[in-house]
């Protein structure tokens, strides 16, 4: 059944979390994502579903509350924006090491440093390559609409528990702030304590004397043990790369040129693609939806059939490195980016395509 509503992207995240049966939200205000917590505080799910909502004293505390909640097997969520997510890297690395499921939303703004409050995609490397210390990945979803902001909450929780791993929704200030209609699924009840214990036998939530005590940690002082943990993680990432890749292609069948873009940039590229086709240039769009796992195989196959690719990002060239690694044949791959909070226009994209790929 569900329900159709007009909402901001940030609000859609919050509403979807309540409906997904999320147990707790822990966050700290930062523009442009504060609506997530504001929405939750207005809705007061703690009085309806029993979901805990808490404003932490910092992003450092928020991510460690997430670590605590996730370590007991509960479904927990935090959201922040770039400078705040930088502060969270410690906790994310610990969660990856302790194999804890949790959902982290980054409504990206321009950096580095305090940067700007305008939208950006400059946290691609941080999200996709690890961000914190140690060899780890998160599964990273890049929504391109308010609808996907809502959808990826449930999907994100599902894969987080399936693989016992932190998952990130990497969006940006524009999608967080824009209003669109969104279809919201019917609420599912939160798991009971019994169900939590059954789903997460590894979690530390009180030891019945029938089992050994559970320990949540990322520490192993024995190098052989720590290497074993790393191998387990690497095997998990291999499985994720095998099974969880998501992407979208538009008009790639007859295309000579491909625009590769994620999130907001992909929306702009869709318009740019139409403009280019009006000019007689056969352009298709390839949109990675999961940034880790990256759709390597699909881009590799596509590259064999086209004359060139333009990677469009709101950063100085980050995802292009993964595209280059994936392509593996000799076609021109160029980057067009605006940064610091500037959103590229479709005209700029077409011009860049003409100048750097077709004419280049």
């Amino acid at each position: 059944m569900g329900e159709l509503r007009l909402m901001k992207g940030n609000e859609a995240i919050a509403e979807a979390a309540i409906r997904a049966g999320c147990d707790g939200y822990f966050g700290y205000p930062i523009t442009p994502q504060s609506e997530v917590m504001e929405y939750l505080m207005v809705e007061r799910p703690y009085e309806t579903t029993g979901m805990v909502v808490l404003q932490a004293e910092s992003e450092v505390a928020a991510i460690n509350m997430l670590y605590g909640g996730a370590g007991t097997g509960k479904m927990v969520l935090t959201s922040s924006s770039s400078p705040g997510v930088s502060l969270m890297q410690e906790g994310i690395s610990y969660m990856a090491g302790a194999e804890l499921p949790a959902l982290i939303v980054n409504i990206v703004r321009g950096g580095p440093g305090l940067g700007t409050i305008q939208p950006s995609q400059a946290d691609y490397f941080q999200a996709v390559k690890g961000g914190g210390h140690g060899d780890y990945h998160m599964i990273v979803y890049a929504p391109a609409s308010v609808q996907e902001m809502a959808d990826f909450v449930q999907i994100g929780f599902d894969v987080a528990f399936k693989y016992r791993t932190p998952v990130m929704i990497l969006s940006d200030g524009a999608i967080g702030q824009m209003m669109e209609k969104v279809y919201l699924a019917d609420p599912v009840p939160r798991l009971t304590e019994k169900e939590v214990i059954a789903r997460c036998p590894w979690a530390s939530n009180g030891r019945p004397m029938s089992r050994q005590h559970n320990i949540i940690t990322s520490l192993d002082l024995d190098p052989a043990g720590q290497e074993r943990l790393n191998l387990v993680l690497q095997e998990k990432y291999r499985k994720i790369e095998e099974s969880e890749v998501m992407f979208e292609t538009i008009d790639c069948e007859d295309a000579d040129y491909i625009l590769v873009a994620f999130g907001l940039s992909a929306r702009i590229c869709q318009k740019a693609m139409n403009l280019a086709r009006q000019k007689g240039i056969k352009v298709g769009l390839f949109r990675p939806i999961t940034l880790f796992p990256f759709p390597k195989k699909e881009i590799h196959e596509l590259a064999k059939r086209v004359k060139g690719m333009l990677v469009v990002e709101m950063n100085a060239g980050q995802m292009i490195e993964d595209v280059q690694l994936a392509v593996g044949c000799d076609i021109p791959i160029k980057h067009y980016g605006r940064f610091g909070g500037i959103i590229p226009t479709p005209d700029e994209v077409v011009k860049a395509l003409e100048e750097t790929i077709i004419g280049g």
Partner: protein, 262 residues
């Protein structure tokens, strides 16, 4: 080995008056000889055993000497990042309100890197217990200066003694958090004598009893020795602690039933 003064005939179950609780895992503790951590671990586990709440208790241990506390306490545990234990415990207690939750933290963890998490968890009036081991030094990393290192006290990063003009003052975090409306019971104890151990156990018992009342943080500081870090024998370090630490960190209740003890 011949035990000259042994009385095996006395060693019967009905004559047993004290044995290490089974809630401590049957393995050697990783602490230095004479370190107070082991005593606090044991008193804590005895309290859980006597209250019969081991299966309903979730512990959070820190980074520091007690980073491996989860190996020794036979209950469900989470190892926090350095200083973040109160953040974990906050979420755990709110998500599992009928569980008994505690953090176990050292002075560097609680009063330096984790000051914000400590103060805000205390100020929110979270309903868990904080156990704070104050030995005035960073033990695990090799005896560096801690927030609670005394003026003039030597450490590997204050080799000529803590010069307060350069290194600042020791932080009396326990007095500080006692001022916060979210703390309900704040006490400072020690474990170097049998009487002190009994008092510490009583304080821990009270702290866990208070979790039932949901009136805020119960906070038990234990002033402890670090004979390795202080470069003394265990017995010397206990004497030094009584003569030097106790005047700076006086023992006793600081806040009871939400009221400061005058």
């Amino acid at each position: 080995m011949e035990e000259k003064f042994a009385h095996p005939e006395l060693r019967t179950p009905e004559n047993l008056v004290y044995k290490r609780t089974d809630l401590l895992v049957d393995c050697p503790l990783s602490y230095c000889p004479g370190c107070g951590h082991g005593v606090v671990h044991r008193m804590l586990m005895e309290v859980l055993e006597e209250k019969d709440i081991a299966s309903k208790t979730i512990g959070v241990n820190p980074v520091g000497c007690s980073v491996l506390a989860y190996d020794f306490m036979n209950i469900d545990m989470l190892g926090a990042a350095h200083g973040r234990a109160p953040a974990l415990a906050t979420a755990i207690k709110r998500l599992w309100p009928d569980r008994y939750v505690f953090t176990y933290q050292g002075d560097g963890d609680l009063a330096a890197i984790g000051t914000a998490e400590t103060i805000h968890a205390c100020n929110r009036g979270e309903n868990f217990t904080i156990i704070f081991i104050n030995n005035g030094i960073y033990g695990m990393t090799g005896g560096q200066m801690a927030p609670t290192t005394l003026p003039g006290m030597r450490s590997s990063t204050s080799p000529y003694g803590r010069d307060i003009d350069i290194m600042g003052h020791p932080l009396k975090i326990t007095e500080l958090i006692a001022q916060l409306p979210g703390t309900y019971y704040v006490t400072r104890q020690s474990v170097q004598t049998p009487a002190a151990v009994r008092k510490t156990k009583k304080a821990l018992r009270k702290a866990f009893d208070l979790q039932d009342e949901k009136k805020g943080i119960s906070f038990v500081e234990v002033v402890s020795n670090c004979n390795s870090g202080w470069k003394m024998t265990p017995v010397q370090s206990n004497t030094w602690m009584e003569e030097n630490m106790f005047p700076a960190y006086p023992l006793g209740d600081i806040k009871v039933n939400g009221e400061l003890v005058k």
